[in-house]
Amino acid sequence: MDFFDSLPTHMDYDGQARAEKLSRVIVTLFGVVGLVWGYAIQQFSQTIYILGAGFVLAGIVTIPPWPMYRRKPLDWQKPQPEVPTKFKKKK
C-alpha cells in the first residue's frame, strides 16, 4: 500500500493543458489519416479502426500522469505559522 501511495498521481496546470492539447492533436490526426485511407481503399471500417488506434494512443500518452506533465510545478508559498489568537480577539 505504501508503494501505491508513493506514486505521484498529479499533473501540474501546464501539464494538464499540454495533455489536453496533445490528445486532441493525436485523435484529430488519426481521424484525418483514417478518412483519407478509408476513402482510398473504399472501406469505411478502416477509417474507424484507425480512429480507434488514435484513441488508444492518445489514451496511453495523455491519460496517465507521466513525469513530462510535472515539469512546471507552481511555486506555492510556504505554509505560514498560524496567526496568533490574540491578534484575532482584538476586534
Binding site: S23, R24, V27, G34, G38, Q42, F44, F55, A58, I63
Partner: protein
C-alpha cells in the same frame, strides 16, 4: 483535466465527436452518386390461372405464373458507404379496378463482396402474382421493373429503379394444366 478519469472522459468524448464527423464526411462523399444502372429483363414462360384465393376472400382471382431472365452488373453500385443492396422485381399493370397495380414477385439481397454480376435464366418468382380480381387474363401490358434499396453505413436509404424494363402480355386463355 486534473484526474485520470476526467482525461479519459475528455478523450473518449472527443473521439466520438470525431467519428461522427468522419461518418458525415463519408455520407457527403456518396450522397450525389447516381445509383442507376442497366438491367436486362425478359420473360420466358407466362401463364395465368383462375383459382380461389384462400388467403383473402375465397373468390376466384387471377393468379399469374411466370419465369424470367435477368442480366445485370451491379458491381459499380458498391462503394464505402454501401453495405448491401436489396433487389426486388415489381410487376406493374393497369386493370379495370385499379389504375395502378404493383406486385413484388421476387427479391434478393446482394452483400458487398458477393458476386454482383447477376445472370439468372428461367428463374421462378418467389412470391405469388395474385390480382385482386380478374385483371390478368389477356392483359396486354404488364411491365417488369427491377429496383433496389441501397443500405448504407450512414445516410439516405434510397430506392432506385433500374434503367430498362420489360413489358409482356398474359395469354387470353386460362391454363388448365398444373404449373
Amino acid at each position: 483535466m486534473h484526474s485520470v478519469l476526467t482525461r479519459g472522459n475528455a478523450i473518449l468524448a472527443y473521439t466520438l465527436s470525431v467519428s461522427a464527423c468522419l461518418t458525415f464526411c463519408c455520407f457527403l462523399s456518396t450522397v450525389f452518386i447516381d445509383y442507376r444502372t442497366h438491367a436486362n429483363l425478359n420473360t420466358v414462360k407466362v401463364v395465368v390461372k383462375n383459382v380461389p384465393d384462400y388467403s383473402a376472400s375465397r373468390e376466384k382471382n387471377d393468379l399469374g405464373f411466370l419465369t424470367f431472365d435477368l442480366q445485370t452488373d451491379l458491381t459499380p453500385l458498391f462503394n464505402w458507404n454501401v453495405k448491401q443492396l436489396f433487389l426486388y422485381l415489381t410487376a406493374e399493370y393497369e386493370t379495370a379496378n385499379n389504375k395502378i397495380n404493383q406486385v413484388v414477385l421476387w427479391d434478393k439481397i446482394v452483400l458487398r463482396g458477393d458476386n454482383a454480376v447477376l445472370d439468372f435464366k428461367n428463374t421462378n418468382t418467389k412470391y405469388y402474382f395474385w390480382d385482386d380480381g380478374i385483371g390478368l387474363r389477356g392483359n396486354k401490358n404488364v411491365t417488369l421493373t427491377l429496383s433496389w434499396n441501397i443500405i448504407p453505413n450512414a445516410g439516405l436509404l434510397p430506392s432506385v429503379a433500374a434503367l430498362g424494363s420489360h413489358s409482356f402480355a398474359f395469354p387470353s386463355e386460362y391454363t388448365t394444366s398444373r404449373v
